[in-house]
């Protein structure tokens, strides 16, 4: 699905991504872990077109997508969510979803003046679809609420919902779990699995929560210092010495109680 060939991304002299090569299989949920500063987000941004790689190529389904801007990638079915939810805060949750599909005829100025009938039809269909997605996410009661006014976790759900408004092929999730309550995280995890199974979305997930990774991801890729350190099932990764040394660690040293 996605092939990354020897991608480098340098900031000044600093090599944030330093020759990463990896493949993401179609239909998988791939986990991406690694210590802070390993270059995960940077690699993500390179794939998603936010950053230009210093060198290297990115392919999607055989096509070279290196350096395409995010909106082009969106139309190719490559979607992403953000570590900090990026909702459209002044718009209702429904509108947040309705704005997603590309190529709406109402987005052309000309049509807003002279093609109103067509717009009305399209809007009706979009609305139905948005309501369906809200229901799937169990937040249909929020559909008319402003997205700025819903809780953090609900925003993350909404964010996931946006990827469901179109036929995505691959979705990149950046730290869905960071700062999200574990119970809600489980709900999100369920949604991801359902999307993967029912709609065949491919997922790439950056996460620091090993439980979450364990529940969802089959291949897990561990990065360190801009390179791919290890790749395999979670158990393989957990057993990998390099990974333990660089990332997982061996647990608390001072587990004994304080103060007493």
């Amino acid at each position: 699905m996605i092939v990354i060939q020897d991608v480098h991304k340098h900031f000044g002299g600093f090599r944030a991504v330093d020759g990463a090569s990896l493949e993401i299989a179609e239909g998988s949920i791939t986990g991406l872990i690694g210590p802070n500063g390993a270059g995960k987000t940077t690699l993500f941004n390179v794939i998603a077109g936010v950053l230009q790689p210093t060198s290297g190529r990115v392919f999607m389904a055989g096509e070279d997508i290196t350096g395409l801007p995010p909106h082009d990638l969106f139309h190719k079915g490559l979607l992403r969510t953000f570590q900090i939810a990026h909702e459209f805060s002044s718009m209702s949750c429904r509108e947040n979803l309705m704005m997603v599909p590309g190529g709406q005829s109402g987005e052309t100025l000309w049509n807003t003046w002279f093609g109103q009938k067509r717009i009305a039809d399209e809007e009706r269909a979009l609305r139905a679809k948005a309501d369906e997605v809200l229901e799937f996410l169990t937040i249909e009661h929020l559909s008319d609420q402003k997205a700025g006014e819903i809780s953090g976790g609900q925003k993350k759900l909404l964010e996931l919902g946006r990827t469901m408004m179109v036929d995505a092929r691959i979705v990149f999730l950046d730290e869905v779990g960071a700062g999200v309550n574990r119970t809600l995280l489980n709900t999100i995890g369920d949604a991801i699995i359902r999307l993967n199974q029912e709609r065949g979305y491919t997922f790439v997930v950056i996460e620091h929560d090993m439980d979450f990774i364990g529940r969802l991801c089959d291949p897990v890729i561990c990065m360190a210092e801009g390179k791919v350190l290890a790749q395999g099932t979670l158990d393989e990764i957990k057993a990998n010495e390099h990974v333990i040394e660089a990332y997982l660690g061996t647990g608390l040293k001072n587990k004994d109680k304080v103060g007493a």
Partner: protein, 433 residues
């Protein structure tokens, strides 16, 4: 109070102010305020489109308005055949060469790999292109400007009806906006404000100094009018008779007639633009713009081409300012490049939009009418006020100093109105919903 009632009331108040001017001062003065108010309203719609809908901070409004004015000259003035034969060809060729140089540089920049080689090649193209451009252009410009400099000294226009210049002014402004937007919106950080501020100054500099184009500071006067001259009306017995039917003397009737004519023309433009802006706002396009405004990064990730949309809005808004500029020049009957001052044509329009209500087209129109009214009327009101205040004082230095300062009250008042509105109704008089 219900919102519609409140808004209607606000419009009624501004209308009332203008009517009051008619009763207290004269109907001509009132209509003149109305007409310039309408032109300002068009400008305000343009700025509102950029700032209110898309958060683009354009402080180069003046430049686009001036380009609209230029269009009025280029479209409606008669051509100067001697000037064309003296150097028209050379100028066209020179301009083409100049454009060619820029295009060559851009192509080179795109095609070649980054490195010292590209830098050298770019430099060579630009330098050589510049000197060739100057070598071709300069002699022709001199030749054109030598043609009867006191009366013409420029290439003249196309001699078409002046109304045509309104859409063409829009196009001209749109073209310039496209160039600016391509550069400034393409910068990795946003620097639109300073870019527009600077380019507006450059546009004015061109208008002032390129005599072959616009007669420069010598001004173009006597631009053809879409409406009859008052004098002709006064000499037209049929008109005089009809005026008498209304109980008006020919002078008043003719001046009112012409002003009403302009008011009607401007109103048509304003209504059409309002309709278009409102339709766009309440459609998926408007939703997309709101999404982009709320969160550019997310909108980009959701497949919306933010830069292109910003460019689109920027170009449209500037085009509207260009139309307004052409309308204004048409009404003035002359192009005076020295007129274009940022305080008056950029900052004042901003005050209109902010006071009226950014993001709300009706707000922008209301703000334009109100602020223009104040701009014109604060001075007489200030004089009146100061006269009342100083009536007890003996005639002395202070009194005359105060009275002399009345004209500066205008700036002061504009600032005060802006600050008061931002304080107590920060979203403007008619806020965005």
């Amino acid at each position: 109070m219900n919102e519609t009632v409140k808004n209607t009331l606000l419009f009624a108040v501004v209308g009332g102010l203008i009517l009051l001017t008619g009763v207290m001062q004269s109907w001509n003065a009132a209509l003149l305020i109305l007409n310039m108010g309408l032109v300002s309203a068009v400008m305000a719609i343009g700025v509102n489109l950029q700032w209110g809908f898309a958060g683009l901070f354009n402080i180069g409004v003046m430049g686009f308005v001036a380009l609209g004015g230029l269009a009025a000259v280029l479209v409606s003035m008669p051509p100067t055949p001697e000037a064309w034969s003296a150097g028209g060809g050379g100028i066209i060729l020179g301009l083409l060469l100049g454009a060619g140089t820029v295009i060559a540089a851009v192509v080179l920049h795109k095609r070649m790999r980054p490195g010292p080689g590209r830098a050298l090649a770019l430099l060579a193209v630009v330098v050589i292109g510049f000197f060739v451009f100057r070598a071709v252009l300069d002699p022709s410009v001199d030749a054109v400007e030598k043609v009867d400099p006191a009366i013409t000294g420029y290439l003249g226009g196309l001699g078409l009806p002046v109304i045509l210049s309104w859409p063409i002014g829009g196009l001209l402004a749109a073209g310039a906006a496209w160039l600016i937007g391509k550069t400034a919106l393409g910068l990795r950080s946003d620097y639109l404000a300073i870019a527009t501020l600077g380019i507006a100054e450059i546009i004015i500099a061109v208008l002032k100094n390129e005599d072959w184009l616009s007669r420069g500071v010598k001004n173009v006067v006597g631009i053809p009018r879409p409406l009859p001259f008052e004098i002709d009306l006064q000499n037209d017995p049929a008109f005089v008779e009809r005026a008498a039917g209304f109980g008006l003397d020919p002078v008043t009737a003719s001046t009112l007639y012409v002003k009403l004519g302009y008011a009607a023309l401007f109103l048509i433009v304003l209504v059409v633009l309002m309709w278009m802006a409102q339709k766009a706002l309440h459609s998926p396009w408007g939703r997309m713009m709101r999404a982009i405004r709320d969160n550019e990064v997310a909108a980009e990730a959701m497949g919306k081409d933010v830069t292109r949309r910003h460019l689109q809005v920027f170009v449209l808004g500037s085009a509207i300012c260009g139309i307004a500029g052409a309308m204004m020049t048409t009404m003035d009957g002359q192009l005076t490049p020295g007129t274009y001052q940022p305080l008056r044509f950029t900052f004042l329009v901003w005050v209109m939009v902010i006071v009226g209500g950014s993001g709300n087209n009706f707000g922008a129109v209301l703000g334009a009418m109100l602020i223009w009214f104040l701009w014109v009327q604060v001075e007489p009101m200030g004089i009146f006020l100061l006269e009342v205040l100083t009536s007890g004082m003996s005639d002395g230095g202070l009194k005359s100093h105060l009275l002399e300062s009345a004209a500066h009250m205008r700036l002061f008042t504009m600032g005060l109105v802006l600050i008061l509105v931002l304080r107590f109704s920060p979203r403007g008089l008619i806020p965005e919903k």
